[in-house]
């Protein structure tokens, strides 16, 4: 009989910490990048050195402060209208996060609704919805969003509408597939409990299982939303006026790319880190939340 006496009871790490560790470096890096983005967006008024739409034509196209010609007041220089690049970058983060959040949530809501509809009712409803999704996905997304935004007119609403209209199918397909799988699994149980309405089954069984999937997709979708906004800004049909967006800064920067390359380069850096952040976060979350995917 071996001695199993321990000096202190062994603490089992809580489930969350264990899950966090499972996510690996992807989760950490992704969460940090996204966290920084959200923080900057929230604290924009506090951390931006200047008013992003305040023009100072006397100080137009100043290079970053550490190069020659730069001024310490404008850390990342100014654009052709003398607006502080750093402040515009920071406030653009705000727009980006707002657009990403709203558009992704709406796309998710519509996509999940359609997906649940198709998956749980089956039959001709499923057929119809699937056909609709297929046809929808046959349209070239970039062209579709450009046409849409051109049609609705410039502004944040059109950007969000464009994103939602183009990408709700992503959620719909996945949710539909998952619903079908779940329902098949619980079919016997559901058949037994005939009294239990489809709605209740959906609520109790399927929705909780969809959460990890949806969370991951949401993260990826937010990255996509940022990209679509950039595209639309670049083509000239995003937000109007002075509202700073990364895409808008890139479009402006492209015109004067030889004279003032930093105006185009800096927003690109912000976009890349945000998108990579969202993708890594989504990937990491998927590994954490999906028990089957353990490495």
């Amino acid at each position: 009989m071996a001695e199993l006496a321990l000096d202190h009871p062994v603490q089992r790490p809580s489930r969350w910490i264990a899950g966090w560790r499972r996510g690996g470096p992807k989760l950490w890096i992704g969460a940090t990048l996204v966290g920084v983005l959200v923080l900057v967006a929230l604290l924009a008024p506090l951390i931006a050195p200047h008013n992003p739409i305040e023009q100072d034509l006397m100080s137009a196209q100043l290079p970053p402060a550490w190069t020659d010609g730069g001024e310490p007041a404008y850390l990342f220089g100014t654009d052709s209208l003398g607006r502080c690049v750093l402040s515009r970058l920071i406030y653009s983060a705000r727009t980006a996060v707002a657009v990403a959040l709203i558009a992704a949530s709406l796309a998710a809501a519509i996509g999940i609704a359609f997906g649940l509809l198709a998956g749980s009712f089956g039959g001709w409803i499923d057929q119809l919805t699937s056909r609709l999704i297929d046809v929808w996905m046959a349209f070239p997304p970039v062209l579709l969003s450009i046409v849409l935004a051109a049609v609705i007119g410039a502004g944040l609403t059109s950007v969000i509408t464009a994103i939602v209209v183009v990408d709700w199918t992503r959620f719909a397909r996945v949710v539909r597939a998952e619903t079908l799988v779940q329902l098949q699994r619980d079919y016997a149980a559901a058949a037994r409990v005939i009294g239990l309405s489809r709605g209740a089954i959906l609520r109790l069984e399927i929705l909780p299982n969809l959460v990890p999937l949806v969370v991951t997709l949401l993260s990826v979708e937010m990255g996509i939303a940022i990209l679509v906004e950039v595209i639309l800004s670049f083509v000239g049909i995003s937000v109007t006026g002075d509202t700073p967006t990364w895409g808008g800064m890139i479009a402006e920067g492209r015109q004067i790319v030889y004279q003032a390359p930093w105006i185009m380069a800096l927003p690109i850096g912000c976009i890349i880190s945000s998108v990579i952040g969202f993708n890594l976060l989504g990937d990491g979350l998927r590994t954490v939340l999906d028990p089957v995917q353990r490495r």
Binding site: P140, L143, V151, G236, R254, V257, P261, I272
Partner: protein, 335 residues
């Protein structure tokens, strides 16, 4: 081969195109934005406006317009561009070769890069370097083609000015070509200096289009190779005394190619869609660039013509990919 399947697909093409045409047609006319209003000079009288409207057939009802347009389309006459004042058919045909050459070059680059990355990834399978390959590919996948276009433009056009960042060819060069397939023609006629100039202009946009595609191919191929290598027939081959490289090349690769072509082939359509922005960013004179202007100018006939062109290309690519997969997988041939 499954002839029945192929014929069925071919037969379905016209109705699909009609469907696309109808949707686009209605969409454009139902939503706000009047092309005539956008092109009239200030001080034009209402009579002038009406005349212009009649000239472009926009005074008729929508079904009427569609019938007129379809009738013309069937005889190869796709209308007159409102913003460019030329026949849509000729405009599209003039610029299509540029985009096709770009897409072809991009696909070629992507296949080569993807192959190399997948093979390297397979060589280091199980070792720590694999993490590097997977991570690199992952990052490449996160960045879409237009962002790559901007990055490449900055890096190699501005910061280290190696390459031009706009246009298809230097305006100074004499381009007496017969077709608009500049690159192919210059290669075939051995005018390598011209070909080189063309490639200088094409390499950055082609690379931008190629990188995300290459990353996808690399990931799919690497995964497929790994799966196939674990299959019994590959293990048995090892028991027969063949070396790992030989087995990879001769037994595993033909199998891994099947899902790769199936998944990757579809992505070629995405690459084609990507030309819209990438051409714009590099001011490359292809149909993608033209499409953006057409939309901004509400040039209905041109938009319709371009969308139909893209639709035809997408359908053709999908069909080609399916045929290719059937060629590669003998199990699909007798269905």
């Amino acid at each position: 081969m499954r002839w029945g399947e192929i014929i069925r697909r071919l037969v379905l093409i016209p109705p699909t195109l009609v469907g696309v045409a109808v949707i686009v047609f209605v969409l454009l006319r139902v939503v706000p934005g009047d092309p005539i209003a956008m092109m009239i000079p200030p001080g034009a009288s209402p009579a002038d406006i009406d005349r212009l409207r009649a000239f472009y057939g926009l005074d008729q009802s929508i079904p009427q317009q569609f019938i007129t347009w379809s009738g013309q389309a069937l005889s190869g006459h796709f209308g007159r561009s409102i913003s460019l004042h030329q026949q849509v058919f000729e405009l599209v045909l003039a610029r299509l070769p540029a985009t096709l050459e770009l897409a072809l070059l991009a696909t070629l680059i992507a296949v080569v890069l993807g192959l190399i990355a997948a093979l390297i990834g397979t060589q280091v399978r199980g070792r720590r370097a694999e993490w590097l390959v997977d991570g690199g590919v992952g990052i490449l996948l996160s960045i879409p083609d237009f962002l790559w276009a901007l990055i490449l433009l900055l890096l190699f056009g501005v910061l280290v000015p190696l390459l031009p960042i706009s246009g298809r060819i230097d305006p100074e060069i004499d381009v007496s070509f017969h077709s608009n397939f500049y690159l192919i023609e210059s290669l075939l006629t051995a005018r390598f200096d011209v070909a080189s100039a063309l490639l200088h202009h094409m390499i950055l946009p082609a690379l931008a289009l190629a990188l995300p595609f290459a990353a996808l191919l690399a990931r799919v191929l690497k995964t497929s190779l790994a799966e196939a290598e674990d299959q019994d027939y590959a293990q048995v081959a090892r028991a027969r005394g063949f070396s790992r490289p030989k087995i990879l090349l001769r037994e595993v690769f033909p199998n891994a190619l099947i899902p790769t072509v199936a998944l990757g082939g579809v992505q070629v359509t995405l690459l084609l869609g990507g030309t819209v922005l990438v051409e714009r960013i590099f001011s490359y004179e292809g149909i993608g660039n033209m499409a953006i202007d057409a939309v901004i100018n509400r040039d209905f006939p041109l938009i319709q013509g371009l969308i139909l062109t893209f639709a035809v290309l997408f359908i053709a690519i999908n069909l080609a990919v399916d045929l290719l997969v059937t060629l590669l997988d003998p199990r699909l041939r007798h269905g």
